[in-house]
């Protein structure tokens, strides 16, 4: 056991943790919107819209995240026309490609979580709103969304932790996140166990914090 290596690698890994956290927060932010959008589309009565939203979540949940990143990062650049559009400014950066892939992926899972939350809202709540003469729009924003958020908190907490682990795949498209730096240190020093303990410890610490924040939120929003 090489304790000094563990100590010297700690600052490098800490600065890489910032990259991981940035990736995580940005992809969760965009993913939440995508998830909400597709959850609403899933509840739509139009069969085409419904099937489209189902297809989206099926494809993104049924394929590995690695394939999704590779398609976006290596694949899209192949289309000649695509490179001439303004979107290319975003898609040529591995950083944004990773975030887009993560956001689309977590969006698919989030849409499933939110959909099931919307479906488990007791119809009585909506009927009560209707009989009080509240408009459908306000029922949706003031009753359905808050209740659905509360219902989906535990599952969403798991999704955040899964996504945090997912950000490690950013290292496959040349980004130096926590796993990327850990791999670099391992491959230069050949001391996998020591680096694993430090990097794994940081990941566990983040899991622990996320877990506790979610617990706090669940308590706060419980009724």
């Amino acid at each position: 056991m090489d304790i000094s290596l563990m100590i010297t690698s700690l600052p490098k890994l800490q600065s890489a943790t910032v990259v991981t956290l940035k990736l995580l927060s940005l992809s969760l932010f965009f993913g939440l919107f995508i998830g909400l959008l597709f959850a609403i589309l899933r509840l739509n009565k139009n069969i085409f819209i419904n099937k489209f939203a189902y297809g989206y979540s099926y494809v993104f949940r049924g394929t590995p995240l690695l394939v999704q990143i590779f398609i976006i990062y290596f694949g899209l650049g192949q289309i000649e026309y695509f490179r001439s559009t303004f979107l290319w400014v975003i898609f040529k950066e591995p950083y944004w490609c990773a975030i887009i892939a993560f956001a689309l992926n977590t969006g698919a899972y989030t849409s499933e979580i939110l959909r099931s939350a919307f479906q488990t809202i007791k119809p009585g709540l909506i009927e009560a709103g209707k009989s009080l003469g509240i408009s459908n729009k306000i029922i949706f924003y003031k009753i359905q969304i808050p209740v659905a958020i509360r219902q989906s908190l535990p599952a969403y907490g798991n999704e955040i932790i899964l996504m945090m682990k997912g950000t490690s795949l950013a290292s496959t498209v040349t980004l130096m996140d926590l796993t990327g730096v850990a791999k670099y240190i391992i491959s230069t020093t050949f001391k996998p166990i020591e680096v694993f303990i430090v990097a794994g410890g940081i990941y566990l610490f983040m899991t622990f914090i996320i877990h506790n924040i979610m617990k706090f939120l669940e308590k706060k929003f419980s009724y």
């Binding site: 690695l66 394939v67 590779f70 192949q78 694993f196 990941y203 566990l204």
Partner: protein
């Protein structure tokens, strides 16, 4: 389409073999995971605090650390660990472990942590009366576990095990970083030599979707079989 032709001109046969490799790694990893679950589920359910701690740390650490990091640990540390054990028996030559074994072991340990949680949950949700009844009937431990608890546990566990299977199947794509030629690695090679990454990675996605779709169908059948009478 000619890119997917079988034989020397296309990548069809290579991708087909790679798909079989993915299936083989997933099944091996799942079975290794069951072995781990068999060891750690009793630890997690045990009343002994120390054993309980070991069981809990296994599932917490593995489920809180990225799969890729675990794979790197095994990839870089695997042969070192084996050589260390071998040197204790007086064998000092370099030993290289096959990527298939390292890969399925790494994924197996991850899938084992998820399976452990599933089995623990399933055993805990079996009606307490079932345990008491089998004790009252004086069943031997073996019969008690395999005849009474196991069939009920499986029925409760199958839907969640199907999730674990999906996770395991998708995690095998990560072994491509160690050089094992499964779907992802083969697509990477093909994409590199034909300069057509979009097509090959999309095709890889289709292969994974097909695998998850077919396995869902199979598992649904199992589910029906095990919920007879409910």
């Amino acid at each position: 389409m000619e890119l997917l032709a079988f034989g020397k001109t296309g990548w069809g046969d290579e991708l087909f073999i790679a798909t079989l490799m993915t299936i083989a790694v997933s099944i091996t990893a799942m079975l290794i995971g069951f072995l781990f679950a068999l060891i750690f589920t009793p630890l997690k359910l045990s009343k002994n605090k120390f054993l309980n701690f070991i069981g809990n740390s296994y599932t917490t650490v593995i489920r809180g650390v990225p799969e890729l990091l675990v794979i790197y640990l095994f990839f870089f540390g695997g042969s070192g660990a084996v050589m260390f054990v071998a040197s204790m028996f007086g064998y000092n030559d370099y030993i290289e472990i096959n990527a298939f074994i390292t890969g399925s072991f790494a994924i197996g340990i991850i899938s084992g942590a998820y399976s452990t949680e599933v089995f623990r949950g399933a055993i805990q949700s079996i009606d307490k009366g079932q345990f008491e009844a089998s004790q009252v009937l004086g069943l031997k431990k073996f019969a008690y576990f395999f005849r009474v608890i196991m069939p009920q546990m499986l029925r409760l566990a199958i839907p969640n095990l199907s999730n674990v299977w999906q996770i395991t199947l998708k995690d095998t794509s990560l072994i491509s970083v160690t050089g094992l030629v499964e779907i992802m690695r083969q697509s990477y090679i093909a994409a590199g030599s034909t300069r057509d990454p979009l097509f090959f990675y999309s095709f890889a996605a289709v292969l994974y979707l097909t695998l998850t779709f077919l396995s869902m169908k199979l598992i649904n059948r199992l589910e029906i079989k095990y919920s007879r009478g409910f």
